[in-house]
Structure formats: structure tokens, C-alpha cells
Subunit: 423 residues, 2 copies
């Protein structure tokens, strides 16, 4: 299967992209191909990678916004999640992936319940993902054993959802998983070379509790249980101190910053991006779940990331547009082991074509600036994953969009009805 | 001329809106009309009002982003603005209004050069606006006299661009306009009952300089020159202290908060919204110019406003979605003298119909939450100003969109070529 994208702007210059067997095989050459996309006037960028999300939370989008955190969790989210089925998660994840494909995203690092539902959706929709079950034992040995057994059973056929769906481990956080389970997860991750996706240092309360219980900062505690290494994907990292940033950087770990979620939940701080980069720490970008965002548009997230970091640093040169784009593309490709992440020969053909000809993105003095600061996910025209065209000219090919929307809306209504929500 | 919008959701309930002579004449009644819009499934909201912008700066969108402020101004913006013509401003403003109409905005409070070009564009595109010339004299008496003469000459035919284009006065800031000119503007504003649109307390440097030069905080200095009153539209107000907030509130003045611009320029602070509201100060929302945003999408701006205020207050209940919408609708209508700003009988028919059926806004547990936190300006389906349909089903009626885009792009290229920019 070969694909020719004829004449899109690549870095501002019209450059044809020839794709074979899922990889970029030539740049600037027009070879005959099974499919040709006439892309003159469109701008090609690497597709976007979402470093931290709970995709199926789309079902709870806008359900109990603007409430105090514990009231939102206790009265809205937890009761609803207690009634989630695998089918709900499947429908909610398909809805999330539809939105992601529409906004140029072809990869997600997901952590949620009913993993099988997530995997089915990811496989069907043709994107790539690391899919982790949430692991929470709250110190309960029985709960811990059940979840470890389930993970162990899954290892043998971890590739059964195809090459784009990868297994990861998802210990929820240091305050919801026992030390014993964290150590077990660390051992398994090393042995099987699995990514470990965890919430880390999101709130001040978490840091204070960790110091009180363990006498250590959260990243130091992770080091103690053996989780600090190149496999670690730590979401948030808002309160990481200088020592923790150096520790994570030296280990080759990754922090996923989720600026919208942090602002919306009012965690009080802003991820120390400049200092993290100065320490050599790899940083990527995530939307978090739809409950705390409330969309999954990484184009919007790049803008908000750049804005809040400029604000935090009191310096408009901090996190410029090209760097914001790198967080969601090349840096993410490295963190998530997707190979080279740019538009280059040999890289996976994970691409988006963006229409910058609309009123919000005219004129185009700088395509990357327009993408990050002026565009919306709605401006994505074509989305390609491993050379497969998931959406072309704003028509999603891999799914029946109307059916996904209707089924997700139905599942959301039924879920709230079951869990006693008003809907 | 009458218009029936059949069955849109209004506050979550299907409710037909009947419009006659530019005003909402009935709600929930289906009267025969000259034009009928079938709106079942769409959500009707008051259209959005942009409280602070420099519309024609669309021509400089993305031109020199991520630079230190003074380098951006001195090497990019000022040289380009020095070469602006009235035709450039006309083309840039039309581009801005096209984007505004597409994203549900029907009003702008504008301050820029070549006012005649702005007025022509506003009149042609059918939106409403207060249009002010920038007034800057830098203490130069000759410059001051010229500008005062020009304003005086304009007073007699201030309504010549039709009832939707209103005159306002635009002293740039307290540090660029002489005290004598500020007093002259204050007198004229009182006598002619004109709005006065000024940048106020945007940067710490401005506050420090004002205290040094005048021994007063910026708002107190404005009071001294006679500008504090219900006519005052003060953009930014980031550094207003408690006394200033009370002073402005007691006078019935308005502050326009522009969160994206403040973050992007890294002014260091966040507008003290909660305290301002507690003092009874009227607050509205603006995008600022495209140079510091870089789009004019008030739907995105509502989200960013809500996010940064939750962050600042360390409280997720601060600036909830409905209040963010009010800043851009009902509060703005009051500030800008547009009459009642809600969807109610007797109000001007300034409306938008929004399509919340897409993947980013499904399911709809709460339409206002979806509008503010999940939607994009691209989800606006129909935009109506004074009962005139400016855009229907995403087709702009009042202008040739392709011609506006082409002319604006051409004007932007030519402007940079003339002013020595790289383009």
C-alpha cells in the first residue's frame, strides 16, 4: 500500500511526501502510488500524540463542572464510574478517538477502567496507543492480588489487538496503590519492558502526604519502589522540586504536562517547564480526560501550554510555538517509542494536513505560529496513522461517525440514569 | 423584516424565537415570518461581544511571536504600523470581522489607526461596534492639537456609517497621552456622552511609572484627569489594587479582561477577577488584537478566562461557565449600551446558533459547559445581528469570504514588503 501526498507545505515549502508500508519513503519526489492526496495549499505536520488521557471520560464531559474537587469526585464522577461497563468504555473511547482523529491526533497514552473496551476501540479506529488499566488497591491485599493476577494473565496475549495497541501498566498514584504493589509493578515493568503510566505530584496535598508517610518527595518515593527509569510516564509533575527534576531527567523518564486540567482543577501551581527542560527532563503534552478539559484538542492544548509557561516565567520567549509543537510530536514519539517523530524518510507516516486558509489563520506569516496560536483542531483536514488515511478532507474513513455519536450519547444518558445522575 | 428561528434549544429547552424589526418580539410562538431558520437540535445563545480589540492587527497575526516585548514592538509591530494605510486597515478589519462572525461575535470595541477604514468595514459587515482612533501625543502639543481637531471635526457626522457604528474616544494609555489631552478627552466624553476606551494597568511598569510621575496609582490618576465614570472602558486592569477596584466600581466603569493577551505577553499578573466582582466592578471579555492572541475567538477566550481565574483563586468554582458566558454577553451589553443582552422579548436580536452535535461537544449534559469548555468558534452555525442574518449554516452572507481572505493576505504581504519585514 502506497500513498502520495502531493505538494503540501512542509516547513513552509511545497514538498511531496511518498509513503510506503506505513513509513515515509521519500520527500520531494512524486512516485506513482495507490492513493494520491492533492495537498497544495495545505500544511503538513507530524500528527499529534496525547500523552495522558482517560479517553472514555468523554461520557462525563461537562457533568458537574465548576464544583469543588471532592464534591465533583464524590457526587458525580465516582458514582458514575462505579456503574461503567466495558461497553460504555468502548463507546466513550470511540467518541474520544473520533474527536482525536478530527483534531489531528493519532496516538494516546490512556489509563482507565475496562481496558478491553479501550483496546477494541483503539484497534477499530486505527490510531496507536499505550493502554493501561487503572491499578488501585488502597492497601487492600485482596484487591491487589486480583489486579496483579489480571495483569499477569494479560501478558501472554498482549499483542492480540494488533501492532498499534500496546500494553502499559497504570498504577493510579502513589497514594492509591500500596508500596508492595508499586514494587511488583516496577519489577514487572523492568522484566517485560513495559511503560508505567502514573499520576505524579499533581497536587500539593499529594506531596505533603508523601513526605509525611514516607519521609520522601513523590519522585524519591517512586525511586525507592523502583519505578524511576526510562519506562516511567509521569502525568502532571506540577510540584516536582529541583532534585526530583534532576532524578527523573537522569533516569530518562518523561513528564506529561496537562495545563488545562491543572488550571481547571485549580491545583494551584503550574508545571515548572523551563526548569524541567534545563535539567534535561523530557516533557510531552496531554489533555487529561474530558472531565477536566473538556475537549481533547491538542492544538488548543499546545496554545494553553505556551501561554501558561510564558506567564509563569514572566517571559514571552518561554515555550515558543515550535517547541509546543515538539512536545506533542517529536518529544512524544521518543517517549512513547514510536520511532523518529518528524517528517523525515524512515519515520512512521503519522501525519496531519491542516487547512490554514480560513479567517482565523490568514495571513500565514509563520505556519507553526498559526497552528499553535490561531488554529483549532477543527482546521485539521486529513489525518494519517502508519500510512493509513483515517480522515481525508474532513471525512472520517475508519468509522461511522453518526453511529459513534449516537451510541456514545445513548451510553452517557443510560450511565447517568443507572448511577442516579440528573443527566 | 421578520425572522423565525424554529425550535432551537434556549437554556436547554426547544423554544422558537420570533424576531421583528431587529428585536426579539416573541419567545415560544411560531409566527409566520419573511425568513425561517429550522434550528431543531441547535443551541441558541446571545451572540458574543468583544470588549477590546485592534481588529486590523489580523494583518500582523503570527508576525514575530515569542519575542521579548520591546523587540517585538520595535522591530516588528511599530515599523509595520508606520506603513499602514486606510486601505490596509479596511482589509485587516474585514478579515477580523469575518472571523468574528464565523465565531459568533456581533460587536467589537475597537481602538486602532485609520478609523475611517475600520468604520467602513464594520458598516459593510453588519456587526455593531464602538470605533475609536488611537490617541497618542507623547506630550507633543502639535500632535495633540492635530488629533483633537480631527476628533472635533468628526463629531458632527459621527453617525454617518449607520446606526451600528458608534464613535468612541481612544486615548491609548496614561503613559502615551499628556495630562492636558486626557483632560480634554474627559471633558468631551462627558459633554457628548461618548465611551472612552483606554489601556489601563496592563503592566507592572506602567503602575510604577505612574506612581513615580504622578504620585498616584493609574486609576487614581484617571480620576484626577476626570476620566473615571460610567463611560470608562478600561482594558486589562491586571494590577488594579483594592482601592482602584472600588473607585471604578463606584463610578460604574467597566474593565475588559484579555487573558490570552496577558499570558502571551507575560505581563506577570492575572486580572483580580474575583475581587473585582466582589467590589461590584463590571467586567467584560476581550481578545485584544490578533498580534497577541492570535485569533479572535471569544469562545476560546471564555475558556481561557475561566481557567486562569480558577488557577489564580486556587478554586475550581471561580468563574463558572455561565458567568464566563455572561462576561461576553449580558455584562458586555450593559457596558456597551446595547440594551438587554439575554434572549428575552424586547432585546436586540443579537444571537448565535451553535452546533453542539460534533464529537468534541457530545454528549450534552450541560450546553453552557460544552459551549465554554469544549466548543470552538468553528462550531457556530448561524450569526445574527439586529435581526439580520450575517451567517447561516456556516455560509457568510454579508461578504464574499474568498475576496476578503485574498485581499487581506495581499495587503499583509505588501505591508511587510513596504516596511522591510521578511513576510
Amino acid at each position: 500500500m502506497s500513498l502520495l501526498i502531493r505538494d503540501p507545505f512542509v516547513g513552509g515549502t511545497p514538498t511531496s511526501i511518498y509513503i510506503e508500508d506505513g513509513r515515509i519513503a521519500a520527500l520531494g519526489e512524486e512516485r506513482p502510488a495507490d492513493e494520491t492526496i492533492e495537498a497544495a495549499g495545505l500544511h503538513a505536520f507530524p500528527s499529534l500524540k496525547n500523552g495522558h488521557t482517560h479517553a472514555a471520560m468523554t461520557l462525563l464531559r461537562g457533568y458537574g463542572d465548576d464544583l469543588p474537587l471532592m464534591e465533583w469526585l464524590e457526587k458525580k464522577i465516582w458514582p458514575a464510574e462505579a456503574h461503567l461497563t466495558e461497553e460504555d468504555v468502548y463507546h466513550g473511547t470511540r467518541l474520544a478517538l473520533l474527536e482525536m482523529i478530527r483534531s489531528g491526533t493519532t496516538y494516546l497514552c490512556d489509563m482507565y477502567w475496562h481496558r478491553e473496551g479501550v483496546c477494541r476501540a483503539v484497534e477499530e479506529m486505527g490510531v496507536k496507543g499505550h493502554v493501561a488499566s487503572v491499578f488501585i488497591d488502597l492497601g487492600d491485599r485482596e484487591k491487589a492480588r486480583e489486579q496483579r493476577d489480571r495483569i499477569a494473565a494479560r501478558l501472554s496475549d498482549r499483542d492480540r489487538h494488533g501492532p498499534r495497541v500496546r500494553m502499559a501498566l497504570g498504577p493510579h498514584a502513589i497514594y492509591t496503590v500500596s508500596e508492595e504493589s508499586l514494587e511488583w509493578i516496577a519489577d514487572l515493568a523492568r522484566k517485560e519492558d513495559l511503560l508505567v503510566h502514573i499520576h505524579l505530584s499533581e497536587t500539593r496535598g499529594e506531596v505533603e502526604e508523601c513526605r509525611r508517610r514516607h519521609g520522601l518527595s513523590p519522585a524519591r518515593y517512586l525511586e525507592k519502589v523502583g519505578l524511576v527509569g526510562p519506562n516511567l510516564i509521569a502525568a502532571h509533575g506540577v510540584w516536582l522540586d529541583a532534585g526530583e527534576r534532576e532524578l527523573l531527567a537522569a533516569a530518562g523518564a518523561t513528564v506529561v504536562t496537562n495545563p488545562t486540567s491543572n488550571l481547571k482543577l485549580a491545583v494551584g501551581g503550574i508545571f515548572p517547564y523551563r526548569e524541567a527542560r534545563e535539567a534535561g527532563l523530557r516533557v510531552v503534552l496531554g489533555t487529561d480526560g474530558a472531565g477536566t478539559n473538556n475537549n481533547l484538542d491538542l492544538i488548543e492544548e499546545m496554545k494553553i501550554a505556551a501561554l501558561v509557561q510564558k506567564h509563569r516565567a514572566e517571559d514571552p520567549t518561554c515555550l515558543p510555538a515550535a517547541e509546543a509543537l515538539a512536545l506533542a510530536t517529536t518529544e512524544a514519539s521518543e517517549a512513547f517509542r514510536l520511532g523518529p517523530g518528524g517528517i523525515e524518510v524512515g519515520a512512521a507516516a503519522d501525519l496531519m494536513l491542516v487547512d490554514l486558509s480560513g479567517p482565523a489563520t490568514t495571513p500565514v506569516h509563520d505556519p507553526v505560529s498559526n497552528l499553535v496560536y490561531a488554529a483549532s483542531g477543527r482546521d485539521v483536514h486529513t489525518t494519517i496513522c502508519d500510512g493509513e488515511v483515517l480522515m481525508r478532507d474532513r471525512v472520517v474513513r475508519v468509522a461511522d461517525e453518526g453511529e459513534i455519536l449516537a451510541e456514545a450519547a445513548r451510553a452517557a444518558r443510560a450511565l447517568l440514569a443507572r448511577s442516579g445522575g440528573a443527566g
